[in-house]
Symmetry: C2
């Protein structure tokens, strides 16, 4: 059994905070501060340019990619870090479309994170030639995978509701219809077991600053199935994806395999934080993590529903159909979340009416959930959200 | 007069190292370690998700962009940080091509950094429709700007030879021929005064980890002229370039102005290092910097040519025609650089035969140059590069 007391001790959480927002920005792993400081002072400061080789900077996007591969059921050597999730979406989409050249439709859903849809829109416009994005309600996607669809692009877990798609069934359906699939694992990686290879997924992308705790603006990752690895076109053909970056050839020749998805110079300080953050996973069994997370979510739902009938559950009750977050809807969701934060229970408001809380047993236990439930119920029963201070919207992240 | 003793004291350079490679990776500014540590421990650790507003993370790409704007002669409010230089090249190119829709040629030169050319190749392939990259020798560019050219895309300073293009004249020539211009300032920003607005430049891009000392993998920047700011298309249309990112609309509407060139979540730890690095510039007059850098280069060239006739100068002697680096050619350039590094004089080898050294008065003085000259001359006169240890090529960055 995974020892979640041990993992909790690996995080440096502020006193008095119940942090239910690790699905937006994971908290600071204790060793990350020292690891980043080492990267700044001992590596950059002392090795200077030599750090690229001596400190292994140049290899970090691949070596850390392998560690993430192990968490998402990917084959070793087929995940690489870099850029942001939006950029990785663009790369995956451009590659997938070129691998399926006779079709013109990208199929996605309204539960996808908007940036994925925006990047698809931008790519379609650049491609011209009839390419288009078709966006349906999540429940209508399965029935719409026909022979016009080049690529099915979905985020596995809906960032608002927490609804989880059936990756295996949808990947199979897409393949049967001759489409390729791209899965965005933003709310999956580090949240529960993922089986990319077993599901036969073509491309996957994800971020590291949510459940993988790499810190603000940590790099994204991309997975390309081994069967496409040497055929996928790197539309963003940067020098570090070149077969021989330091030959400085005038013409681009893609590197073999996943390295072609590298673009520019990797962000070493962010990668150092990620490296420390990945150490947390050493003795974690993802099945244990999943069971514990389901228990926390069940406890939270039961507690809130019991005492706060005005909050309407937006997340599926079915364990198989949800990620690792629970969302309730309420017209005053913004003010309610402000009141929660003022009392040290930190979750997210998501427009227009969602109170979103993430549950990860790495640093949360039943006591934390009980406290969160008590605070929310106090706010709802005593209408504490009516306080004008909670009604004024500042910038929202 | 700028006090370069004061700026030198702002850097933490290793004992015994003469660092002539700030043009590859600038050294560590003393305050950067504390600034990054604060970002990790006090901001990420204590503010958690709240850091996006409370610590001002979300504004850093723009506020630091304004500080860079002041160093490159750009209008305030028209520079933003993010991604890597290659990604920024792609954005600038895609925008510029769409602003000049009746033409199909991107004109560049063989002295451009290869990644810029690779990104252009990739974009042309994605666009299809006859778009193509035409790459000439640097001296042939001016004569080739005709009415087929949609965009002239050049790096101002050649990364190998240090040859500097005439930004003002080439920009004017391009505009007279109906072309737009993109300048890559990788080896310009922080190296000498740049006058983007005065030259009427359309787009500029650059990196921060060279002369701006932001550390390994620091973010890139992009400038869009005010006259294009609300018309340039953000081909990489990510959520942070949206008019209202946190409305989570399903359709992309570009933000007004430079914000549309933002893509994904900004790399906060790298931006923190950059913030500290930009403090070095507070009392620096770029004209003083330029004069001092020219003097260091003259001293270096005279010293090396005087004692090492086998080293052939690849950099223009004319002050107006070079950046802030000096390159010599020699068939044994790789081994010579290894011998230099072994003696604490750190520059760069650039394939196939270039010994490249960068000169910045921020942390280098005449004594450093004298030491470098003495070491190089010792190596050349005593053929120390023949040592087999220097002949074996490790990975080269």
């Amino acid at each position: 059994m995974t020892d979640f007391t041990a993992t909790k001790a690996m995080f440096d959480l502020p006193q008095g905070i119940t942090y239910l927002d690790g699905n937006s920005l994971g908290p600071l792993p204790r060793t990350a501060a020292a690891r980043v400081a080492r990267s700044v002072t001992d590596e950059w400061g002392q090795m200077l340019i030599g750090g690229w080789n001596r400190a292994g900077w140049m290899d970090l996007p691949r070596s850390l990619g392998d560690r993430i591969a192990a968490l998402i059921g990917a084959e070793a050597g087929h995940v690489v870090l870099g850029d942001t999730l939006s950029i990785k979406v663009y790369q995956a989409l451009a590659s997938a479309l070129e691998l399926n050249p006779d079709r013109r439709v990208i199929l996605s859903d309204t539960g996808n994170f908007p940036s994925d849809l925006y990047m698809a829109e931008g790519l379609c416009r650049t491609l011209g030639d009839g390419y288009r994005l078709k966006t349906l309600a999540p429940e209508d996607v399965a029935g719409a995978i026909d022979d016009s669809v080049a690529v099915l692009m979905l985020t596995e877990v809906d960032y608002r509701t927490g609804r989880r798609h059936d990756m295996r069934a949808l990947t199979r359906a897409a393949h049967e219809a001759g489409a390729l699939v791209i899965w965005d694992l933003a709310h999956s990686a580090g949240a529960f077991p993922v089986d990319l290879a077993g599901c036969g997924v073509d491309f996957a992308v994800g971020c590291t600053y949510k459940y993988l705790n790499s810190g603000p603006g940590g790099p994204a990752f991309i997975y390309v199935s081994p069967r496409h690895a040497d055929a996928a076109r790197p539309a963003l053909s940067g020098w570090l994806g070149h077969e021989a970056p330091f030959a400085f050839d005038l013409e681009y020749r893609p590197s073999a395999g996943i390295d072609r998805m590298r673009v520019g110079t990797p962000p070493i300080l962010q990668l150092a934080a990620l490296e420390a953050a990945l150490d947390v996973w050493r003795d974690v069994d993802l099945n244990d993590l999943r069971s514990a997370s389901q228990a926390l979510m069940d406890q939270y739902i039961a507690g809130v529903e019991d005492a706060c009938p005005d909050l309407i559950l937006a997340t599926p009750r079915d364990h198989g159909m949800r990620g690792s977050q629970v969302s309730f809807r309420h017209p005053q969701a913004y003010a309610i979340m402000q009141a929660m934060i003022a009392r040290g229970v930190v979750g997210d408001f998501r427009a227009p009416d969602v109170i979103r809380c993430g549950f990860t047993p790495l640093f949360l236990g039943a006591g934390d959930v009980a406290r969160a439930v008590a605070v929310i119920c106090d706010i709802m029963q005593n209408r504490l959200w009516e306080n004008p201070a909670y009604q004024t919207r500042a910038k929202v992240t």
